[in-house]
């Protein structure tokens, strides 16, 4: 073991990479037009070094978390152990070559977890928070919006909306579904209830075909919504371009992308106004920053997606949000998920939020300490639901 205080970047060497699966039954099932989730998983990646510094990352692994763990420990770990922790881009390239084929899917989600952990180590060794390490614009707090008003009865939707407004949120996301008429009514109902002071946006989770999306887009235009998120399946890029020509509400998407090459076509053509990568899916901080920079170069805003992820994904996103010049607003999920509330000393954004803002942690690295006993309690073989 070397002394962390004395260590130069090259002295800190990776000694182990451990993947921890977590599974929980959600306090409230999340209902989207993609499907109803009552039980979800995630994976924490722990990277240990010879300097006593341990980094933590998160891999978006909603289902089959042990498949992700096997991939990380069998295919990624051997490419990392014994190497200097600071050479993050080199590790990224080496991990990407663990499997052939285009970049995407579980491999990139697995890399995301390792990459975030390496950045955590990077910050801890330097004694600086990640937002500072990223050399960005230096926000000390970031704007957040409430996610989300779930699809339910009108009365249920009204109650949820009121709760978010009462909690001080200045922007609220509304989930809509494949029923175009019902969704259009919901769009109007919640605008009337929210008044003009609260910004509203919708998330369709790929609910529509082009005709349906155009019709919903008209309702959004009429009711002044700030964005229309994932109206179509992410592979239907021609569909997004056709929709944009016939919809005034800005289009948002990006949580389904793994790498910059997948985000690029709708950015280059200025089809999207808002890019929403999830750092635990889109290759970690390294690749997410790359695609957000690409978006910035094309005048497209950055709004981090964190839905159903845990505190590590949320906190890594807060640091990116603090650093990136084109940051617009970040998702603040109020689901009470155990992945956000029980596994670290840092309280989730939904609790830290004041006046629609969340503070950026100032301790080195991500700025949180994981309670590994709490993580173990969520292991699918043990306490995890």
């Amino acid at each position: 073991m070397i002394d962390a205080a004395e260590a130069t970047a090259d002295d800190v060497v990776i000694t182990d990479v451990i993947a921890h699966p977590m599974t929980q039954k959600l306090p409230r099932p999340t209902v989207t037009s993609w499907g109803a989730y009552d039980r979800v998983s995630s994976v924490l990646v722990e990277v240990r070094t010879n300097a006593g510094i341990t980094g933590v990352g998160e891999t978006l692994g909603r289902f089959a978390p042990k498949a992700y763990c096997e991939l990380i420990e069998a295919a990624l770990r051997p490419r990392l152990v014994g190497k200097p922790a600071a050479a993050i881009s080199r590790h990224w390239a080496a991990m990407r070559r663990a499997l052939s084929g285009r970049a995407g899917g579980m491999l990139i989600e697995a890399i995301a977890g390792v990459d975030i952990a390496l950045w955590d180590i990077h910050g801890k060794r330097a004694g600086l928070p990640l937002a500072t390490m990223l050399g960005g614009v230096g926000r000390s707090s970031v704007d957040v919006y409430a996610a989300a008003v779930n699809w339910g009865t009108d009365a249920e939707a009204a109650v949820e909306l009121d709760r978010y407004i009462d909690a001080g949120f200045r922007q609220v996301k509304v989930k809509i579904v494949s029923d175009v008429a019902a969704s259009s009514r919901r769009i109007e109902q919640l605008r009337r209830r929210a008044g003009d002071a609260v910004a509203l946006c919708v998330d369709a989770n790929w609910a529509y075909d082009l005709e349906g999306a155009i019709e919903v887009g008209a309702a959004l235009d009429a009711n002044g919504y700030v964005w229309f998120e994932e109206p179509l399946p992410p592979e239907d890029e021609d569909g997004y371009r056709a929709l944009q020509a016939r919809c005034r509400t800005p289009l948002a998407a990006g949580e389904s992308n793994y790498v910059t090459a997948q985000a690029a076509p709708l950015i280059e053509t200025r089809t999207l106004s808002v890019l929403q990568p999830d750092v635990a899916r889109s290759g970690g901080i390294t690749e997410t920053r790359r695609m957000v920079d690409f978006a910035a170069a094309h005048g497209v805003a950055y709004a981090p997606h964190i839905g159903m992820c845990g505190i590590v994904c949320e906190t890594a996103s807060v640091h990116l949000a603090a650093a990136m010049p084109n940051f617009r607003i970040m998702e603040c999920e109020t689901d009470g998920s155990a992945f956000k509330t029980t596994i670290s000393d840092l309280r989730p954004g939904s609790i830290r939020q004041r006046d629609s803002m969340v503070d950026v942690p100032t301790a080195p690295g991500l700025g949180l300490t994981i309670d590994w006993d709490a993580v173990a309690a969520l292991h699918p073989n043990h306490g995890g639901a």
Binding site: F63, A67, Y68, A74, A98, R102, G104, G105, E235, Y258
Partner: protein, 392 residues
Amino acid sequence: MNALHLEEPASHGVPADCTSRADRIVSVKAYPVIQKLPQPTETSWGRYDRISMVMVEVATEDGFSGAGEVLARFAPHAYCELIDVALAPRLVGQDPSDISGLWASMRRALSGRACGILVEAISGIDIALWDIRGKAAGLPVQALLGAEVSDAVPVYAASVNWADDGAAREQVKAFREAGFDRIKTKIGRSPRAAATRAALVREAAGDDVTLYADANWAYALDEAVYVGDALQEAGYAWFEEPLDADDEAGYEALAKRLRIPLAAGESNFTSIQSQRLVRSGAIGVLQPNVTRAGGISETFLAARHARDHGVAYAAHVGMSGIVCETAALHVAAAIGGGAQVECAMTPNSFKSKIASLDPGYVRAAKGRLAAPSVPGLGLDIDWDAVRRMGEA
């Protein structure tokens, strides 16, 4: 009339009696299969000494058994866990003939764009479902896909390795003696060395042989222009994967500067990922691997879309197993025209040790290889051998 054999031999997993009601899937099993390669394969991507794949066995209530293969070169247990936990529950109890419905359901096992390990895993199940559908119908898969004749499919020998010049000459000679008039050579990182090798292989093969060159993402754009000119000069028929597969703008830029057709596709997941380069005309040859691209369903779709745009289908097989090779032959037979299949000549126990059917590198004659004409894929898997190879 073609010469399809439509009888249903019991040895092909076909029950003696089945009724017209819908059948149901009763089990989905995934097996890791691992081997140390007899001769390591060197490409500019990397060196492969030990590789794996996953075999999938789907069984139905009526007693049909379908075999599928998943491209899983490394970490095969991760693929098996995904299939066991996330895909099998969506299949058991369902009608195996509803392949597109089951595909859509499996695709929703994980969110995000359709790509990566999930699509490779779905590929194996899709192939097994086509095997079952063929057995249930008493038809070979090529007939289900609309093949009119069961003429043997053209195949090419792959590959002359990126090794020393003497070994390259020997391989060309061996492929010629085995009756191949189409040969692929690997070319490596140094553009100058690649150009020299391309000329050497041409000289060794003579002018009557059709030659292809595979770069496995070796080059930057300007290097690829240099190598492409050299290949053109040496009369090669395609330049395969010169650039990173995700650099689609690079392929389009390269195609504008070269006369030699570009080939790509083995890195694609789903037919959607092949659309851009097919529609833009940047590639002349599309090469999906059926065990990666989403199975027979997506590969057939991609190959037809390519055909409609004047782009040829040349199935990638590479280090994959006998199920991959056989499924690709069925798709190529159904596409017809200039469709061809890669005949990987490297000894490979994934092709030689797990099925009743001999591998293409044994069966191929005069540069052609027939898709089996018995129901389903037309091969019997030795599942005991598969299980034994999981312990390697």
